[in-house]
């Protein structure tokens, strides 16, 4: 139930995101979702891609500092109030969310919320027991 995420260290200067995108394009890697966290000096690009191991390797070879870690993907209905439901549940059950980002599926009325938890295993148990469908790593690769 844990999904592989790629994080890349970027200096906060023009052209850096383009260079990452170029490496991914050249290696025919597709991005499912991405988010950037930044400070005035640097940023961290986090991505869900269809081929995480390969993405890790080619970016590293291109000289980037890359880390692979896990997030949890929760399928939710694409309507108002659902984010609150998930966050409220996490809050009640003491699940600390480090960060989150999402994307909307094209083929259904669903959205996917990617969440980085302090304790992903506990989060998987809690969310699963509350009736949320969690995406598998294989599913995400095929999205």
């Amino acid at each position: 139930m844990q999904i592989q995420q790629i994080s890349v260290f970027l200096e906060n200067k023009p052209g850096r995101l383009a260079s990452v995108a170029e490496v991914l394009r050249d290696n025919k890697i597709n991005i499912r979702a991405l988010t950037i966290a930044d400070t005035s000096d640097f940023g961290i690009l986090r991505m869900i891609v269809n081929k995480p191991e390969q993405a890790h390797e080619v970016l590293k070879r291109a000289g980037f500092t890359v880390k692979q870690n896990v997030v949890v993907g929760v399928e939710i209905d694409d309507r108002e109030g659902v984010l609150y439901d998930v966050m409220h549940l996490c809050d009640q059950r003491g699940l600390n969310v480090e960060y989150t980002y999402s994307f909307v599926e094209q083929t259904s009325k669903k959205a996917v919320l990617f969440l980085r938890f302090e304790d992903p295993q506990k989060a998987i148990e809690v969310l699963g027991a509350s009736g949320y469908r969690l995406l598998t790593d294989e599913e995400v690769r095929k999205l």
């Binding site: 200096e11 850096r16 930044d38 640097f42 000289g63 500092t65 960060y99």
Partner: protein, 432 residues
């Protein structure tokens, strides 16, 4: 191995006698042959005949770098131009280059002191010496060359640069001794690692590194990565090039070839000679040089001297590795900051590699110091707060070492320019 046992283990009283005679002869010679020095000595009312003892040197005038530039190219020549057989100059990046003109006798001395230096790394006729110092006007390449020739080692004069070839030669010819700048040795290690080279399996065993300031921590890095004993060597174009001083295999301060280069430590502000153990500016007098001898040359390097005997058996005075430069010293809001201190701090932070650059700017009349540190796999975290925490940690350590605030900025790996020669550590935007 001690190359010249008679000289290098000479008792101190006999050594002082040799130095005294050479000093008297030098002063007489430059007064006689170099107009620049005759004027200088006359102006200081210093008569060559009054130099009877070594301590009398303290009454003689200094020579500084500006004077070398003013007399460019041949104003300090003490030999007949026909006697000069080779010329070297400094890079001249900060003004007119400094000229070193060698007679055949000077080249003989250079070969001798460089043989002593290489022998301190236990180099013998059985070794393969890969000399990756640049050949040409720069003294590093040919200095090592002459020393290795004198020893009779198998010398590979590959010169600087072309890293892929350096690595191939090292592997194929079984290099045992590497000579280059310390930063280039780390670059070699980095590229070699990327190409899957295992330095532990190579016969490489010792490296003689110099021509730029480095630290004890950088030594540990180099030794761990290249699996060599890293020896610090010291020299400067003005005096002869490399060969002025070197660590022995004990790696405890650098033995000065003081039968040829007489050292003093002075207070850079007053010119007063300081006692052994006190930090100050290193000054050299070239006791035996024929082409372009120098009297009390101010090197602008900061160090101190120690006359305690070394366990290796050599009796020569030793100098601590260079602690800083009187002119590279950054003055940040009135505080003296040496790049070597910054490096020392960084190497004590887990996950940080010695790739950094110091940027100084003036904002709103205030000097701002920024230390850029390259990101490493060990340092990288997916979470901003961890990275910011790391920046604060390094800032706190720098502040307590430097006594002035420095902002730390994490940059991408290899974001800091690596030259294949000297690493550019300081960008001072306050100038010009």
């Amino acid at each position: 191995m001690i190359w010249n046992r008679d000289v290098e283990t000479l008792d101190r009283a006999s050594l002082a006698a040799v130095q005294r005679e050479r000093l008297r002869s030098l002063v007489a010679r430059i007064y006689e042959r170099v107009g620049f020095y005759r004027k200088k000595l006359d102006a200081a009312a210093a008569k060559p005949a009054a130099v009877r003892d070594l301590k009398d040197i303290q009454a003689l005038p200094f020579t500084d770098k500006a004077e070398l530039r003013d007399t460019y190219p041949y104003g300090l020549l003490a030999a007949d131009p026909r006697e000069i057989v080779e010329i070297h100059t400094s890079s001249g990046t900060t003004g007119k280059p400094v000229v070193d003109a060698y007679t055949a006798g000077d080249l003989d001395v250079w070969s001798e002191v460089m043989a002593r230096t290489l022998a301190m790394g236990d180099t013998t006729v059985n070794d393969v010496v890969q000399n990756a110092y640049g050949y040409g006007l720069f003294t590093g390449g040919l200095g090592v060359h002459y020393g290795a020739r004198r020893i009779g080692a198998n010398l590979i004069p590959i010169s600087g640069g072309n890293t892929a070839r350096q690595l191939a030669i090292m592997r194929d010819f079984g290099t045992t001794v590497l000579t280059c700048t310390p930063s280039y040795s780390l670059y070699l290690a980095e590229v070699g690692r990327e190409e899957g080279m295992d330095f532990a399996k190579l016969p490489l065993r010792v490296g003689l590194f110099g021509a730029e300031p480095w630290s004890e921590n950088m030594r540990k890095e180099i030794e761990a990565q290249l699996h060599v004993k890293a020896i610090d060597i010291y020299g400067l174009t003005e005096i002869i090039g490399p060969g002025v001083a070197s660590e022995c295999e004990r790696q405890q301060m650098l033995h000065i070839c003081e039968d040829h280069f007489y050292p003093e430590i002075i207070d850079p502000a007053t010119g007063r000679v300081l006692p052994d153990g006190e930090k100050g500016e290193l000054v050299f007098t070239t006791l035996t040089k024929e082409g372009t001898p120098l009297l009390r040359y101010r090197t602008r390097d900061i160090t101190y001297l120690d006359r305690a005997p070394c366990g290796c058996g050599r009796t020569s005075v030793r100098m601590h590795r260079i602690l800083g430069r009187t002119d590279d010293m950054l003055i940040i809001r009135g505080v003296n900051v040496f790049p070597s201190e910054v490096e020392h701090v960084l190497l004590h932070v887990e996950g940080v590699e010695p790739h950094y650059q110091i940027v100084v700017e003036r904002r709103d009349q205030l000097d701002c110091l920024e230390v850029q540190v390259e990101m490493t796999d060990d340092l990288f975290s997916d979470e901003i707060k961890n990275l910011e925490h790391k920046e604060r940690e390094i800032e706190a350590k720098l502040a307590s070492a430097l006594l002035v605030h420095a902002k730390v900025k994490l940059v991408e790996p290899k974001g800091i320019p690596r030259s294949e020669g000297k690493a550019k550590r300081i960008v001072d935007k306050r100038k010009g």
